[in-house]
Subunit: 431 residues, 2 copies
């Protein structure tokens, strides 16, 4: 349960009354890995930033093989047909409906949730089209409403797009509600393929939150493991290989001059910057300096750690700032970046990178005095956090609370995220 | 204004309170002709079947040429790309937003509507997939909400799909509200490419309404005109050609044995049944009997008129029924179908066929004593009726009133149609 000084948080609640009763909300999230849907049921008390969330149940439902194959074939960029996308939208919706029913049955409270939040499966996200951003989440929510008998909020990203935002990331608001602290400055650092941070200053209001992709997460590490093991390994277990290696300083220093790191937020990174192309290009350079794969892994791991810490030094408030802000803008590491001390008290690490001990040790080495720990607590884990977030965003829709952060998504102003659909009038299938 | 004995209608209002104030609702509809969007603003008083509707403004906004071309290329069945559909969804949404703003400005009431209903552009409708029906309307409503500052209800068809229906037709409920009469049995007969009827018995409750496609509308007539004029003519102006011709009885009788006419509702027809293929196949037969194109047109016009009247005789309540219901089910015209007298007091004709004097005269000749007139009155015209319907369905969503008719769509039970999205918190672009 995250309370974190409710008194303080009430200030940001947009003067909404705190509902007397607890609301049970089901959250459904399908991530970019496209492996299925995570269903969580949470108890929500209060609203806005005073929302308090208690996870009650979690269930992962994998996509049937054929459905997953169709989704992967439809993932942008992809040639497809209009009828296939219309069919997928309905079929994924029917799958979500069945998954929601199973999660409710497993919860076993003998009742149905008050509300459902359903993110859907992103099959396309285009942030920089000439005529404006576009995004597409599929999996029709009306099927979930019909099967569960619950009102469902879905399609969260479009409202941010409609006010000029990129429709992502949407979790910084829920990070603030879940992890904001009245006296501690926290960084919620997710390390997936790409690494992203939500920075929550002590007692932060929504406008104080900073969030962006810091750069590579496990992407370069995993690709190197794939290469050196001939495809047998997928990732560096516990950071073991990297721990036995030596960081190749000149290569690392070169990598850290990648132009992505100098761009100011809002910004987002992807496979375009740090995917296979990056590794293919840099492998000869690594080989030229060392023939030990352990050194390559150590360097890649330091790359992730250093780029995270550099991002903090450049773009988060610092106790002792960069020597020259102009130099920082030009981005030279020579301009005193090593001496800057980010004003971060605690880092909550999520994603696969949280299991990489070498990476965490490197982070700790760069940031003495900062508490670094996995974000997992009270059932809010890296696995469940996204689904929990969309349960919370569904409640925020019903409360009329805007939950995009304009400084994070690039939106012109706050928007109430989502679309509400209502259950039919008869008894649903699953209760 | 359609009042039609409010006392009577209150019975069906689901005990909802009648709002004291008028609601101004903007309706946006893009039809299958894919020519643009019709925007209407209506004043709505009351709710449910006691809803009273006054049209206030209408504006048609054509799609820009390039956008229309993209939509036509994406129309099912079509090869396309996921990114193109995601982009179209956003771009059509932005077009709707601009169209909505212009309609509001043109209305000139110095205020914004209370609510918007936005049907979207159907690019795919599959009623008989193996895994269930699927439908896809595009044109993201969040853009309309952001531009107008109004709550928007969109995506009306999915809720009916989710309870096992085909998601169409959805206008029989609004036909009932607009045209239902306490003492007269009315048929709202739309004659577009395909002809469809909504039958409203006197004092009908929703469960009493019958609606289905009767068969060909202008489709066969228009195609014959195209053929005989070498493509210069598109339709038979005022039914003039048909008026100069003679109905070829044996051909007509053959056509009326088409298996579609015998299928029981719910049913729907399309180009598959009565499009170019039908005409190409039947043209030699026409030529064999007569060399006068006027005779061919007279026969095609009688085909539409007779198939409408036959449908009434077969599937609507009759004062004097078919001699043998078994024969009717087998569908033989020999089974006394000519003698059946449908219990219809008045036919309100809409669509392009309402301008075909010969067609109306043939209908009248088959149904002596039945009042036949265009549905257009008080601003509710064939052109505006669809957009008005979706303004009404938006209000029904807000009122929590189910507006699908299960016996019409094939749904298992009533559903509240649509999804609600809310405007952002700042001043919108267009007011």
């Amino acid at each position: 349960v995250t309370r974190n000084d409710p008194q303080k948080r009430r200030r940001h609640c947009n003067s909404l009354p705190e509902p007397a009763d607890v609301r049970f909300v089901l959250g459904l999230m399908s991530g970019t890995s496209c492996d299925g849907v995570d269903a969580v049921i949470v108890a929500i008390r209060g609203c806005g930033l005073a929302m308090r969330v208690t996870p009650l149940a979690h269930r992962h439902e994998p996509y049937p093989r054929a459905l997953r194959a169709r989704l992967l074939r439809a993932m942008c960029p992809a040639r497809t047909s209009t009828q296939e996308l219309a069919g997928l939208h309905a079929d994924v919706g029917r799958f979500y409906a069945a998954a929601a029913c199973r999660a409710i049955d497993q919860w076993g409270a003998g009742r149905r949730p008050d509300l459902v939040g359903c993110h859907g499966q992103t099959i396309c996200h285009l942030a920089d089209r000439r005529t404006g951003s576009a995004t597409l989440q599929i999996g029709e929510a009306a099927f979930v409403a019909a099967a569960t008998g619950c009102p469902v909020v879905c399609d969260f990203r479009q409202a941010d797009l409609a006010v000029g935002g990129q429709g992502a990331p949407l979790v910084p608001w829920t990070d603030l509600v879940l992890f904001g602290h009245p006296r501690m400055a926290r960084a919620v650092q997710n390390i997936g393929g790409i690494a992203n941070v939500t920075f929550l200053p002590a007692g932060a209001a929504p406008a104080d939150v900073i969030a962006f992709d810091t750069g590579p997460g496990n992407m370069v590490i995993d690709e190197l493991v794939r290469v050196v093991t001939g495809g047998r390994g997928a990732f560096d277990v516990d950071g073991g290989m990297a721990a036995r290696g030596r960081v190749l300083k000149r290569v690392l220093s070169r990598w850290l001059r990648h132009p992505y790191f100098l761009r100011r937020p809002p910004k987002s990174a992807g496979r375009e910057e740090f995917g296979r192309g990056f590794v293919a290009k840099e492998l000869p350079r690594l080989r030229a300096v060392s023939n030990r794969p352990e050194d390559w892994l150590a360097t890649a791991t330091a790359f992730t750690a250093k780029s995270i810490v550099d991002a903090y030094r450049r773009f988060l408030p610092c106790v002792k700032p960069l020597r020259s802000p102009a130099g920082a803008r030009r981005g030279g590491r020579s301009a005193g970046i090593q001496d800057a001390v980010p004003a971060v008290d605690e880092i909550l690490v999520g994603g696969g990178g949280a299991a990489n001990a070498t990476l965490l040790a490197m982070l700790a080495g760069e940031l003495p005095g900062v508490l670094i720990r996995p974000m997992d607590r009270d059932g809010i884990t890296a696995r469940t956090k996204e689904a929990i977030s969309f349960a919370m965003l569904a409640a925020a829709f019903v409360d009329g609370v805007p939950a995009n952060l304009p400084q994070v998504t690039g939106a012109r102003y706050p928007a109430v995220l989502g679309k509400l659909c209502l259950p039919p009038h008869r008894r649903p299938a699953c209760s």
